[in-house]
Every structure is written in structure tokens, then in C-alpha cells.
């Protein structure tokens, strides 16, 4: 059953990467990247159970934290144009 869950997550990953490649705007790509991050977290957890090594959950936690921070940083970059110029207060 873990294999079936992992397979479903791999299909999800492939579809999200399809949107990341095809997406017309940069925000489509960021959205697909965020979904890829979430699915990668779930895939790490499921593969940890599949191989009877649930230590992979620590990697999934770190990956989730990095994914959230990275998404916010990329979005701020594409919205404002830089990452925290102190002269720009109206970001």
C-alpha cells in the first residue's frame, strides 16, 4: 500500500512538473514549485515507511521549512524586484 501511495505521489509530481514547464507566467511556475515541494515532503515520508526507515521524516520536516521560505522569497523577488532594499518601504 505504501508503494501505491508513493506511485500516486510520483504521478502528482509529474503533473506538477508539467505545469512548471508549461506555465505561461512565472506565478504558475512558482505555484507548481510549491506543489512539488509539498509532494516531495509527502514522498519522503511515504518512502521512509516503505523502506521501514522512518528517519526520513526529519528530512521531510527540513524540506518543508525550506520550501515555505523559498516560496515566499521567490514571490517577494518577483513582486518587488529585489529581496529587501531598505529604501523600499511600500513593499
Amino acid at each position: 500500500m505504501f508503494a501505491a501511495g508513493a506511485l500516486a505521489l510520483l504521478v502528482t509530481l509529474a503533473l506538477a512538473i508539467t505545469r512548471a514547464i508549461a506555465g505561461p507566467t512565472v506565478f504558475d511556475r512558482v505555484l507548481a514549485g510549491n506543489s512539488v515541494g509539498t509532494v516531495a515532503m509527502l514522498l519522503l515520508a511515504v518512502i521512509g515507511f516503505l523502506t521501514s526507515r522512518p528517519e526520513f521524516l526529519d528530512l521531510a520536516l527540513i524540506y518543508g521549512l525550506l520550501n515555505a521560505l523559498g516560496t515566499i522569497a521567490v514571490l517577494k523577488f518577483f513582486r518587488v524586484g529585489d529581496l529587501g532594499d531598505p529604501g523600499q518601504e511600500d513593499a
Binding site: L9, T12, V30, N34, A45, L57, G64
Partner: protein, 107 residues
Amino acid sequence: MIPVADVVSWVCLLAGGAFAIIGALGLVRMPSLFTRIHAASVIDTLGAGLILLGLVVQAGFTLIAVKLAVLALLIVFTTPVATHALAKAAMARGVDPLQTQGDPSKR
């Protein structure tokens, strides 16, 4: 005789995988950016929630279950923030929410 916990976790895992695929199909098939955001949220709510629930049922009352709960909490808190920032950034950069009514080449 298959234990009840196994059946529950299998059902949760399969349903979560199905919802993840449905969300990804929406991510590919939906016509404009904001509808794609709407479709992708299925992956983060029902897909991730059901898969993590199935794994928690498999883990039982251990540290692994606590880590899975922290993972679920992380998804619950960070995904809406990222989605909100994404929609707001797209609006600020001039992505038209009604772009399906206009030029078909912009879909």
C-alpha cells in the same frame, strides 16, 4: 484476518493519493492562474492530510507519529501563507483574474 488499523491506513493512503492526483490534474487542466491556485490547494489539504493520517495510523503512539503531526501542522500553517502571497503577488504584477474571457492565447 487483516487488522482494522491496516485497513484504515490503506484507505487513507489511497484516498490521499487519489486526491493528490486530482489536484495535480486540476493544476494542469485549469484555464487560468487563479483557478490553478484553487485546484492546487486540494493537494495540500486533502491529499497531504489523508496521506499523513494514514501514516499516523501505521505509526501508532510513537515519536514518528509526533513528527508526522508536526509535518501536518507545518503544511497547515505554511501553505495558506504561500498561496496568499502568490495570489497577491500575481494581482500586484497585473495577472488578470478574468483572463479566460479575453484573448485565448493568454490562457
